[in-house]
Point group: C2
């Protein structure tokens, strides 16, 4: 199998390293900026890759929405199967990209875009074949989990812990996408669409962890509870609702005990019950490993248009629970409660987790 | 796809129910005892199923080693793909059955035999394609986890809790296979062979939970620890070691927080890191769901002889750790320490988990 790789950052280099060690794959091209083309197989013109009939898979390990979004579409139109780790680009054009792939009879696979190495997309595809998946939720961001875990274990405050996370490489210089919940937003949308087999909106409530202090964590801990940033998704028949929010959990839940930068995903299934998948949600080799699995098991899954047949309706009224404000609690839907919280601390305890 | 089902107990009935709801599968035959053939599709002669060229998959949901072991081999020799949930029969003839399937160019799939609905076998196959898996371990038995979890939460003693588990249907009338660790023994052997891609011995140390009292649990809890029955498997290059034993774990580990009859499996991977998979390890619908996934994704995985190419050597000296006896601790290999414990309480803290 001959492969073209777009992007040569942390994930791209790890993909190259894993593919180069195999006998059944040949990484023929790496797309790079002209001034960085230091290997013979590096090219800066995407068309060289797309016009080569030997290339059956294009791997997208680019970092931002653009030009990844445009390049994915170009690769599909050129008849290439595509594997992407880019959650921002995929989420930006999810319905368009998946529909285009189906129309052009190619596969688009994206395990690494949602939960790094964790096989949540693969298992959402498999489990949704024999189950109605009625909810997805989980810790989907390593940076925020590292911060909350450190704050709990060390009794440190948010700003101090964020700086420590940045020093250790667990948080970026501009941490907004992580701590604001926008990274999780992309992931819960991608996972929900896959699990529910229908396209979903990207317009839903998002609340990050910036307002969480060591005192808040301490006061929850005294009640045997912990706060974690969760992606939440609930489905009732053809209605669904999504959200990203700090969630109040029992200290004895698996989620409350997820350490460091690990992630955990739960799929609630009609026959199988609760299935949870845990592992590294980011990092070069873990993410690249999921990319390479997508490449090697290319033909083995269902990712084309007929998969997304369910017509789903967004209905925020189904995502109800208890809201925790500074000093009081109140029941309502996530969006109502979030509006009421405004700029103050807010955490949520969804009914469907009880 | 037309299917023949052997066995109509709790799992068999659930398999039938799931298959009957689908449009893409037809459950054409159910093998039953002559006096129990109450449906038109029920037959008591296996040859009727095996001689029908329309049948592409035979599902084995029989309970014991015999006649399941013989029937699986007959089905393979008749050119049928086989899906089995029977861990006892599969473990009994693992190398023979897998080799026979490869020689006859059929698939043998067994997700449900090891961890019920949990996709540990599927993911061991997928992850071992891109990783060296260097350890497998986990809570692989719901009965023992239910008992230990209840003992911890209710402060109850072993015999009382076992009776409660029997009343609730979480333990069988003869609970030996579960509480003695023999059920886990089959599972850790099947999972290890799959993850390491080489056949493994079934002759390794097994210690159950019968000696665990509420006082022992209480004394570990005071040290922020918990005891859980784990299947353990470690690999160093071509050497490996297996064991089943009560394991001492931090109270903040995911394993220590696995509730009721749930199971959790960990695969330690060279690229992906630790991947954990959690869910229902038994029960009619959860187990049947894994069976049906195996049927539907029949062609999508690698289960034939070339998969088991690694020549592995059993070497108990690599499985070292700290042994906990009544009142003292000692370091050594699992088998040395178990011998020393004799008939008294024993728990183990493997080095590879630290």
């Amino acid at each position: 199998m001959k492969i073209g790789l777009m992007g040569y950052g942390i994930v791209g280099r790890s993909v190259a390293s894993i593919l180069d060690e195999r006998k059944d794959t040949e990484l023929k091209y790496i797309l790079e900026l002209p001034e960085k083309c230091v290997q013979e197989r590096m090219v800066s013109d995407l068309d060289i890759i797309l016009n080569d009939e030997e290339i059956s898979v294009v791997v997208d390990a680019l970092p931002a929405i653009h030009p990844s979004y445009e390049f994915i579409k170009k690769a599909i139109l050129a008849g290439k199967n595509v594997v992407t780790s880019n959650k921002a680009a995929l989420s930006y054009g999810f319905e368009e990209i998946l529909t285009l792939a189906a129309e052009n009879h190619v596969c688009i696979k994206y395990e690494a875009s949602c939960g790094g190495t964790i096989p949540d997309i693969t298992e959402a595809v498999r489990l949704s074949e024999t189950n109605e998946i009625t909810a997805c939720y989980g810790i989907m961001n390593g940076t925020t989990n590292f911060i909350l875990d450190s704050m709990e274990k060390n009794g440190s405050d948010f700003d101090e812990t964020l700086r420590e996370a940045q020093k250790l490489g667990y948080a970026e210089a501009d941490p907004t996408a992580d701590i604001g919940g926008f990274d999780v937003k992309n992931k819960i949308a991608i996972l929900s669409a896959t699990a529910y087999r229908g396209f979903v909106t990207t317009d839903f409530p998002v609340c990050g962890i910036e307002k969480i202090t060591k005192d808040i964590i301490e006061s929850f801990k005294k009640k045997n509870r912990m706060v974690k940033l969760l992606g939440l998704s609930l489905r009732k028949g053809e209605r669904y609702a999504l959200g990203v929010v700090p969630v109040v959990l029992p200290l004895t839940s698996l989620e409350a005990n997820v350490p460091k930068n690990f992630n955990i995903f739960t799929l609630k299934c009609s026959n199988a019950g609760d299935v949870k998948l845990y592992g590294q949600g980011a990092g070069g080799y873990p993410t690249a490993d999921a990319v390479v699995r997508d490449v090697l098991f290319m033909g083995s899954d269902i990712y084309s248009r007929p998969y997304f047949l369910n017509q789903l309706t967004y209905d925020e009224s189904i995502l109800t629970g208890t809201g925790y404000f500074n000093g009081n609690t109140k029941r309502g839907t996530l969006s109502e409660l979030l509006k009421e919280a405004g700029d103050t601390f807010f955490a949520f305890e969804p009914d469907f987790l009880n």
